[in-house]
């Protein structure tokens, strides 16, 4: 941690000149309100609405034009735009963007201080003797009038699939330099979706998209059904359920090679909702056998050895997700005897399960899709309570909630209010959450920042399901 002490309030009012330089930054944000007439506000009783958003200061950063040592100015500008957008999407900065190139070398700290920037970022694209392109970025501290950090990032060719990933890593470095926290730009999101042009078709395939909504790709061509994909903690594999053999079976797919292995458990049954232990050693999933569905573990390294976790009565236990230390599991179960599911937490080796979703006796509530933050004791999930207010047009709407186990049992907040929202999954920074949603503007994949409550559209106009956010990718 190298976060310096600095003021937590804006020092300088933004001068009109700066306002003139600004592009309409707010255009990238979905307004969180006001809701349209059809969109009744969805509030689950007994739950605090919205996070207690951080009042911490969001420092302005000027992203200056990147220079090109090799002469390719358009590529330098393309790289700068990727970085500027990543910093905006990080929700940790107020980005001062689209600035004119200023004459002269070096940073005029006095000028940027006067313009209200706390930080300035410069970049140079250089072609080395061996033909490699290297991005060198410099983070300047305007307040202390000094160079704060400098680092070089080798870039693959711009046609290379890892080109954007390398640029995203530079963006994440800036976030970490300033905040001390992980970024999440160098990551991807997988989900299941009916293929384009066949929305009513019978197949559902695996798709992946970059954290900034670029590079949307179809991953499988099985013409079967893909359900609940999940990333390995190393980011090299995705496990998911496919019906391609006739019954639901979990496959582990190596992303680089495209090779797949079914989970060979030696036991009959349908396998759904896989999740990896944070150390990658095991895959825990739900096995449907007879009327029950119970959580089981599988040795992902040896590719063998089914071990039973839970089992009592004719309950449905599924959707396991590990705590950050791997010692606890949150999962979905109807073990209370209610027909609808609730969220529970129990020790990873089995034992007493504690209810964490806001169940009230006699209330028809439905809570599902738990996802444990990779960095904290927070669990995101989706749910609804069947009250007059949550029922819109006969259809119950789901909202995204977050339970913080460290903050006590009553610490439950509802992150979304508008439309229908499901399948939350934490970003590797433990701060942003991706989810699928339906708004008056249509279906899509959205990202919400739990720090500020700001929401952006990741992929518009798609009926995605079962989104899962990767760990940070491309790390050695």
């Amino acid at each position: 941690m190298s976060v310096r002490t600095r003021a937590t309030a804006p020092r300088t009012p933004v001068v009109p000149l700066l306002a003139a330089l600004l592009l309409p930054v707010s255009a990238t944000w979905l307004p969180t309100g006001p809701l349209s007439a059809q969109e009744a506000e969805q509030v689950i009783p007994g739950v605090a609405l919205g996070l207690v958003y951080e009042t911490t200061y969001v420092p302005p950063i000027a992203v200056l034009p990147f220079r090109s040592g090799g002469g390719d100015e358009s590529q330098a500008e393309a790289v700068r735009q990727i970085v500027a957008r990543d910093l905006r999407f990080s929700d940790r900065f107020t980005v001062i963007d689209s600035l004119p190139a200023l004459p002269g070398e070096g940073i005029d700290y006095g000028l940027w201080d006067g313009l209200g920037a706390d930080w300035a970022l410069t970049g140079v694209l250089e072609r080395t003797g061996t033909g490699e392109v290297v991005l060198e970025i410099e983070l300047h501290d305007i307040v202390f009038a000094s160079l704060r950090e400098r680092r070089r990032f080798p870039l693959p060719g711009s046609g290379d699939p890892d080109f954007r990933l390398a640029v995203h890593q530079a963006s994440d470095a800036v976030v970490t330099w300033v905040t001390g926290d992980n970024g999440m730009a160098a990551s991807r999101i997988v989900f299941a979706m009916r293929p384009w042009g066949d929305p009513e078709g019978r197949s559902k395939e695996l798709y992946a998209v970059d954290s900034d909504g670029e590079n949307l790709q179809r991953v499988t061509w099985d013409e079967s059904i893909v359900v609940s994909p999940t990333w390995s903690p190393q980011g090299d594999r995705v496990a998911y359920t496919s019906y391609k053999s006739g019954i639901p079976v979990i496959y582990e797919r190596e992303l680089a090679s495209g090779q797949e292995h079914p989970l060979d458990t030696g036991q009959d049954g349908q396998q759904i909702t896989p999740t990896y232990h944070p150390n990658g050693s095991t895959i825990t999933f739900a096995l449907l056998a007879g009327r029950r569905s119970d959580l089981h573990s599988y040795d992902a390294r040896q590719r063998c050895c089914l071990s039973r976790r839970l089992g009592e009565g004719f309950h449905k236990n599924l959707q396991p997700t590990y705590s950050q230390d791997g010692r606890r599991i949150a999962f979905t179960s109807n073990r209370l005897g209610t027909p609808t599911p609730q969220i529970y937490v129990m020790p990873a080796d089995g034992g007493d399960a504690v209810l964490i979703s806001p169940y009230r006796y006699g209330e028809r509530s439905y809570f599902t899709d738990p996802d444990w933050s990779p960095l904290s004791s927070k669990i995101a999930f989706a749910g609804r309570v069947d009250t007059g207010r949550t029922r819109v047009g006969g259809i119950m709407r789901y909202q995204i909630l977050v339970a913080d186990l460290e903050a006590g049992t009553n610490r439950l907040v509802q992150l979304t209010r508008e439309g229908n929202n499901e399948d939350p999954s934490w970003a590797p920074n433990g701060r942003h959450i991706v989810f699928t949603g339906e708004r008056s503007s249509g279906h899509g994949v959205f990202v919400v920042d739990t720090g500020t409550g700001r929401t952006r559209t990741l992929v518009a106009g798609v009926r995605a399901e079962d989104v899962d956010w990767s760990p940070l990718l491309g790390r050695e």
Binding site: E200, R202, K204, I225, V227, S228, Y243, G246, I247, P248, Q270, I272, T273, A286, L288, G290, R291, S293, F314, K316, L318, Q319, T332, P339, T340, P341, Y366, T368, D369, A382, G394, I395, M396, E422, D423, E465, D466
Partner: protein
């Protein structure tokens, strides 16, 4: 007087006959030859036999049609979809009767195996609905084994909400999608 007239008439007839022509030769033997007769006899036997065969064939076809109709009706009984209440996997009383009819067919056709395909409506998450569809398929299997049928004749798969029978986000579509379908996986050609 009457006698005289009769005589005259007889004379006239005789005269006419005498004046007609040369006496006719004995008629040629125009009747069938013995071979022809035999052939005709055989033909007639063949015709009768053919008619009999046709009758039997028609009877057979009729029986086959009836058997096929019966098999089709049995198949329909076996494949009749059963429905469930929202978020429930317990067997409704109307379902109980449908399953009893299936059990009767299965008892008479020990070579028949079934795969139960469980489904759910679109409400709720896709994963939970797979578990729910599985519970429904297994509840049906449990009921059938409760009627004394061998569990080895049944397999199950749950599609959750992935294979709706009816499109739409309303109760009439949902009620048709909360179901178990039956696929005959063996013995379907020999239903009696």
């Amino acid at each position: 007087m009457y006698k005289t007239r009769l005589l005259v008439a007889t004379f006239v007839v005789a005269l006419v006959a005498a004046c007609g022509s040369e006496p006719a030769p004995p008629p040629a033997p125009t009747g069938p030859t013995p071979e022809e007769l035999e052939r005709r006899r055989q033909d007639s036997i063949a015709r009768v036999q053919a008619a009999e065969e046709a009758r039997m064939r028609a009877e057979q076809e009729q029986m086959e049609r009836e058997a096929a109709r019966r098999a089709e009706s049995l198949r329909r009984t076996l494949r009749e979809v059963v429905y469930f209440d929202y978020d429930q996997s317990n067997i409704r009383s109307d379902t109980q009767e449908k399953l009893r009819a299936k059990a009767d067919v299965l008892r008479g056709n020990p070579g028949v195996s079934l795969r139960m395909e469980g489904h759910a409506d679109e409400r709720g998450t896709s994963e939970y609905n797979i578990a729910l569809g599985n519970e429904r398929a297994e509840a049906v299997i449990q009921t059938l084994t409760g009627f004394g049928l061998d569990a080895n004749r049944f397999s199950s798969v749950s599609y959750g909400e992935e294979r709706p029978m009816a499109q739409g986000s309303n109760e009439s579509a949902w009620s048709r999608n909360r179901r178990v379908e039956f696929v005959i996986t063996a013995g379907g050609d020999e239903l009696r």
